[in-house]
Symmetry: none
């Protein structure tokens, strides 16, 4: 079976994404993880543009990859300059990277309008650059910028540019859909036409501007390309690059007859995706294909019933194949089967009487506006309480929040009186808002007794009015998402009073964390 090369540019093209910033340490960590998982090429950066990138290559040289080849990225030589005199070439060679990826112009329009050189000069810039770097003993990968637009506008000239790179010694010619505007059928056709013009293998580099980056990558592979360039989680400028998570999963598990990652990484894709999100300090995309927490989550009674009956009936693959897992969501759209599936995780499914009481309680609470699908921690506490296995870690005597504004910045204060370990504690704290102040006062009151609480923090807070007709007098649902070093959990509170609803969700979040530590 043909081995498809996977070329990762998370650290270079991915870092162009809005809100994406990797430290040097981040980049080194991600690079070695990619190497361990069987990626073929890891592009580390653009040494000319960024000293951090130059340092990255030294770090990799000091601790070389086991399998992957590290790539430095750069552009063709400047006009009218010999490669040997070009600062870009010098930076690339100084990086000591064994592989150098050179981007050059394919489209006569861009050569004239953007680069402003003659079509001939552009060809020599490509030829000279690739030949020089090959002569210095490097493998050269040639990225043909705006390849498809260029081919559609002037295929003869586009062909000349990749022939120049190919004849000068490039190991592979990568067709880049730089602005992400090409349709899959165009990618397939042009890939076939291009492969007839050169005797080097072709690669594909796509962007997701039309929501087609994955389809375009697969179309090029089916048409004969042998390398895919992309980024983990599709990080990248504008709408992002092709998400290598989806590309790899599709090639390995859905398409027939391709090998990727040397059978090492596929079962770790979910872990890799979350690892990169964590390092980049970004939120998961919960519905991300294959690896998102929702990718195999089932809501809606009929489906859950069917899934429990025949797992494969609503799942296109076994979640374990990509290191993900099935989740069953509790929600008003679903029935008993969901509750049992969740309770099964807690090994309580056999207590039929308990199950009846849980179901009854969930129905009552959902009628009052509770939603447990984003609040599994509250659901687990609910089951524990009904099972009589939950002992609260503290007992509230009183809370009080106050917000005063005289037109300028409001002043917010909360007081908490509670009993913990038979001691009465009474604390006060300020905050940016009433819930923040309550959180601060509660932590102050529990302070010292449960040091583990210092390791947890709230990461999201959502408020929703349930029956909108009465607006601020209607019930509100508060969902809080909390995190510690290993987990993320959701809790829910519902009340007419947003403060009381927030308090319920806050207490559940802290009780859940403390129960986690008890067990």
């Amino acid at each position: 079976m043909p081995q498809i090369q996977i070329y990762d540019t998370t650290l270079r093209d991915g870092a162009q994404g809005e809100g994406v910033n990797f430290s040097l340490e981040d980049k080194v960590l991600i690079a070695h993880r990619l190497d361990e998982l069987g990626f073929d090429y890891v592009e580390g950066g653009y040494p000319l543009s960024n000293p951090k990138d130059a340092e990255f290559f030294q770090r990799i040289a000091a601790r070389p990859f086991k399998h992957a080849r590290v790539c430095a990225f750069g552009m063709t030589r400047r006009r009218g300059v010999k490669p040997a005199d070009d600062i870009g070439m010098k930076a690339l060679l100084d990086s000591q990277a064994p592989v150098i990826t050179i981007v050059g112009k394919t489209s006569d329009f861009h050569v004239n309008e953007v680069l402003s050189v003659s079509l001939e000069e552009n060809l020599s810039m490509i030829r000279d650059t690739v030949a020089y770097l090959c002569g210095e003993g490097r493998e050269v990968i040639y990225d043909a910028e705006h390849f498809f637009d260029g081919w559609k506008a002037n295929s003869d000239y586009a062909a000349k540019t990749i022939q120049a790179a190919s004849e000068a010694g490039a190991s592979i010619i990568v067709m880049c859909d730089t602005n992400g505007g090409t349709m899959p059928e165009e990618v397939a056709t042009i890939t076939r036409e291009a492969s007839s013009k050169i005797d080097k293998p072709l690669g594909i580099h796509t962007h997701n501007d039309c929501d087609l980056a994955i389809a375009n990558s697969l179309a090029a592979i089916d048409a004969g390309a042998s390398q895919v360039q992309g980024t983990i989680n599709g990080l990248g400028e504008r709408c992002g690059n092709a998400d290598l998570i989806s590309v790899v999963a599709n090639l390995a598990l859905k398409k027939q007859g391709y090998q990727v990652l040397h059978d090492r990484g596929v079962a770790h894709l979910a872990e890799l995706s979350r690892y990169v999100y964590e390092i980049a300090n970004m939120h998961f995309r919960v519905n991300q294909p294959f690896v998102g927490p929702s990718a195999f989550a089932h809501k809606g009674g009929m489906h859950v019933h069917a899934v429990n009956k025949v797992a494969s009936s609503y799942e296109h693959i076994d979640p374990a194949q990509v290191g993900n897992e099935r989740r069953v969501l509790v929600s008003e759209l679903s029935g008993r089967s969901n509750i049992i599936a969740l309770a099964t995780k807690m090994n309580m499914q056999d207590d039929k009487d308990l199950m009846d009481r849980v179901l009854q309680q969930v129905v009552d609470l959902e009628n009052r506006g509770y939603q447990f699908e984003a609040a599994e921690a509250s659901f687990e506490l609910l089951v524990r309480k009904l099972a009589g296995t939950h002992t609260p870690h503290f007992e509230l005597v009183q809370y009080h929040t106050s917000v005063v504004s005289r037109g300028g910045e409001p002043v917010t204060e909360a007081t908490i009186k509670l009993i913990v370990n038979d001691q009465l504690r009474h604390e006060v704290a300020e905050g940016d808002g009433p819930v923040n102040a309550l959180d601060a006062a509660l932590r102050k009151a529990l302070n010292g007794l449960f040091p583990t609480l210092n390791k947890m923090h709230l990461v999201d807070y959502k408020v929703r009015v349930i029956n909108s007709d009465a607006a601020t007098a209607a019930s509100v649902r508060v969902v809080i998402e909390s995190r510690d070093e290993s987990d993320t959990w959701g809790t829910v509170g519902v009340h007419e009073n947003v403060i009381e609803a927030s308090w319920q969700a806050l207490v559940d979040s802290i009780e859940y964390k403390l129960c986690k530590e008890d067990t």
Copy 2:
């Protein structure tokens, strides 16, 4: 050019998405917006499963669509029951929806393993159901569940199921890739095979489990299908449904020879996408193709330079074609076009200097987290203030809110001190929550002076954390929706403190109502 029918199921299949919860009011608002933008079919829900859905159809019957046809969703009749005796059929007919979408089983595996009826009985369930509903004068759309899996497993039987629906009178047969596992080339081939077996048009309904929902929708259209089913922003179970934003944009702007939305909605796709996110109280996907705030944002220096030189060089379409816009320097969600569109309603678009100041102010506010998509009343007040034509009806001296709980029902009180008509008024009121109490105290203080306020009330109240990483200490955006006998209007407030943010939105709502009465 063939008109491709766009069938929206945001309100039914989209509502299956994790964390998606629409109130009845939300559903009605979204449905009418889709109608205005030229959508052909709007599926409102599953009347049997949910009383809220049944009420939705009454609301639409009371205020019918201009263009779209409203659809109710249901399943084939139960086994061994006459359609006329089936509670599902009754619920569908009671909905009064002119179009009924029936989902039935295509795959012999599911008929045997999940439905547990004979293959023959499944065919009669399909035939009886469709024939009965057609006989009752409804248009019936037939959704063939697990169509592609079924076809691959047993194409003869799969063909029989759609022939049964087709011969019984279904207006169109929709091929559903229920678990989202089919590849585009399979969709194309099977669509051609299926169309040779029936004399009815085909539709396509895909899910994004392989990151290919858009490619699969387009592949089916290119192979002859004439309807696409999907959801706004790709909301939906697991990895979501096909995102109609991307489907429509690709069909209208990227593919050749298709017409969609009767040339009404395409230029408003960005606005529609954000409207649905706001109503659903969900975060934007910043890098969403076509409509995301990052979709035409340019970061890398080389790109920005090139874009400034030749706009089209790094943009596959003109962002204005989908109502989005390029961002090069500063972040700017809603741009000049939106501002002018809104200001035009106020006949202020000709004051260029005012427009500049408004735009600048909006950019500043949006950078601080304000969103005016769902808060046009706040925007109008903003323009009036900058135009110097707004005189506040009252001046706040102080507000104070307090919530005390001793474990039972919390006690909430608010005091307001303000100057109105040169009089100092100081009032106190209780409420179900702090904002409700503030609203009550404010009305008490204005009581007698503005009797018209008795005719307005708040109908919705939404809170959103803007930068979630700091949770309860992050800024929150409050959006309040208010109504009087003739209008509905939205106002917005942003602050670290949810009480202060709510106060801003509350004051805007009341000022807007009072200004309305002045003019």
